[in-house]
């Protein structure tokens, strides 16, 4: 069996739909995705525009939960955008960024037509994911100041115009603190102001993801942003591998946690469908995994620490963005290969309903773990291991 899927495999969903009879497909989908997700009818105009502009548009309703006597439903339409870069990496920084801005402008207009309330782009969406090169220039020139950089300004205009909260994950230049770089998400309100920023808490040192060459572990903790459309948080990319990171956003009251990412097939695809969904379950919130698509080729050779010859590309970003609900249901994924906008209508009341049903917060025993973690970090910590006294080893 091949070690990983190639670009010809468009999506699990499309392959199953092609080969399975309708009644069998319904059961298989129930097994794979849980009971909650059904098709959402989107405006014909939005569908036409998406088709014309050559990106996928998929809509779902998360139909679980129940009416409450004391709170009206809080229906929110969540949007997730995945895209390839638009220009070769040899184009100027300005040209590359402008072309991606233009692409996202098309997609945000369609998100607005679909009445999306909160939307998030992929990690470092204004640039190729150039950290594999370990070169600093020109790539660090994609970095911008969080509050008033050109990308934040660009999105703030759309946020206000469309009455849409926009999560803007960029490479940040922190001019106030020694010009250092961060991997940051800027939370832009539907009123057009920046509510705040949140930084990537866990930085990979794995394969081509040489990101610690560029920026350090985030120093903004686990902030949650209260918007007109619910309490949102952002767990950037590699942070999705750390359940304790997801957990703290839940402790701080998040109802939707976005996971803007950039990850490739050979490395992480068996993990992708598991991690954000597990977070939604364990923390009784909606989790949104977003991954870019396409293969990015860089001007100079680089190596990948895997003994293979130097090369100019590090593989296929497999997209597959999806939204998971607190009851364990999930939407189908976007394509593995094409740009796309995913829209899901969710009732945020489901978060508290699932807390009440499952009681994970009530039974969480954070006191036990605060103590256990505090002991475990001591350099002289001894693991709690009981050896078999009769062992021959």
């Amino acid at each position: 069996m091949a070690a990983c899927l190639d670009e010809k495999f468009e999506s699990l969903e499309s392959i199953l739909a092609e080969h399975l009879p309708a009644d069998v497909l319904a059961k298989v989908n129930l097994s794979l995705r849980g009971p909650g997700s059904i098709d959402l009818e989107l405006p014909a105009k939005a569908k036409e525009t998406a088709k014309k502009n050559n990106f996928d548009l998929q809509g779902y309703e998360i139909k679980v939960g129940q009416k409450e006597q004391s709170r009206p439903s809080r229906l929110v339409r969540i949007g997730a955008i995945q895209n390839a870069i638009q220009k070769p990496t040899t184009a100027s920084v300005q040209e590359q960024r402008d072309a991606i801005h233009e692409r996202i402008d098309q997609m945000l207009a369609v998100a607005h037509e679909c009445q999306v309330n909160v939307v998030c782009m992929q990690e470092a969406w204004t640039m190729p994911f150039a950290f594999c090169t370990r070169e600093k220039y020109p790539w660090v020139e994609f970095a911008e100041t969080a509050y008033d950089g050109p990308t934040t300004k660009f999105l703030a205009e759309r946020a206000k115009k469309y009455n849409m909260v926009i999560v803007n994950p960029i490479l940040e230049r922190d001019e106030e603190h020694g010009d250092v770089l961060w991997n940051t998400a800027v939370i832009i309100s539907n009123h057009g102001n920046v509510i705040g920023i949140t930084r990537k808490n866990h930085i990979p040192r794995v394969g081509d993801f040489n990101e610690s060459t560029y920026y350090m572990e985030g120093n903004t903790g686990h902030k949650v942003f209260e918007t007109d459309f619910g309490r949102i948080a952002v767990n950037i990319c590699y942070g999705r591998h750390h359940p304790q990171n997801w957990l703290m956003y839940g402790v701080n009251g998040a109802e939707i946690v976005f996971n803007p990412s950039a990850t490739v097939g050979a490395l992480s695809e068996p993990l992708w469908s598991i991690e954000a969904r597990n977070a939604a379950i364990a923390n009784s919130y909606f989790a949104v995994g977003i991954n870019r698509v396409g293969t990015e080729t860089f001007p100079n050779d680089f190596t990948s620490g895997d003994g293979k010859p130097a090369h100019k590309s590090f593989g296929h970003f497999y997209g597959s963005s999806y939204i998971a609900a607190p009851d364990g249901s999930r939407t189908p994924g976007l394509s593995r290969v094409r740009d796309g906008l995913l829209v899901a209508e969710c009732d945020l009341n489901l978060c508290r309903q699932m807390k009440d049903k499952w009681g994970f917060r009530m039974t969480q025993r954070l006191d036990l773990y605060a103590d256990s973690f505090a002991r475990a970090i001591h350099p002289d910590y001894k693991m709690d291991i009981i050896k078999d006294p009769n062992s021959k080893q």
Copy 2:
């Protein structure tokens, strides 16, 4: 779409194998289960015995990882047993337990023929999962002392005879501490001695799982047991919903963590394939989810807190036991409806290799979370929420 799958749906794997052409099936399986799991040839005699005794036998090799210069491979065969109760719940406690012992005796013999080194049964395996009734008698009479109860004695004999570590999850009667009950796993060495015990850390108060009526949160922390066949730990049932629980077994050095469970379709099936697998990924160890099968009918009516009429059964335990590897691969599941023994040959060296590859332990930031959890448990904790100053709300 139906809210949950019924007993006619034997398994996702069997349905896909029935309907998909071989080349498509291979890709779908790669998408669903990752690259690591291939069929393991088991002895013909074992297969015959399993067939004769009417239980499934499935074997896999987890073929990932690499040769190291400094350590030989540490191949271990892990076994997972799922089973239905064998007698009606109206039979005497002694009869019910004896019949289950007899059933497991058959399955352990086959496990031995398959060269299983470490095996685990499902949660409270000697009894029906009677906690839904909220009745104390006769159900609490299934409880036994951990170190010298009849079930531990029964298994200790087999453990020594078969040179097999056996994890024995029972309802424990703690005579030394006020005769209280615990939900406990007894770790029996391949030399026939009890290495120690470990108790269920998180107790559900959900639906029919009225378990806090019977026993409290465990007081044994996150012990790991060093055996001739690797370092093992046990995360019992509802503890699988708590990633911080899985995490602490990893911190204490576990290489295989068993999750003996009892759970039913309408409640948890969308969660089942996610949680143990996420734990294997996040903690770089093997995780083994085990769930009972069958529908258990009790003599007296009980209610389920769901507004429905009183009834005598609380649904279908959906089996689907599986083993997940630290690289995110997983084996196919056992059936949703039949007794079964799952065997997987694994190289425990893969645990450290995945720690080296992904660096999740290195990047875990336990200091941050020790501090965050310690603050979060204070009654006057204020969540770290930034409100949009322009919000109308």
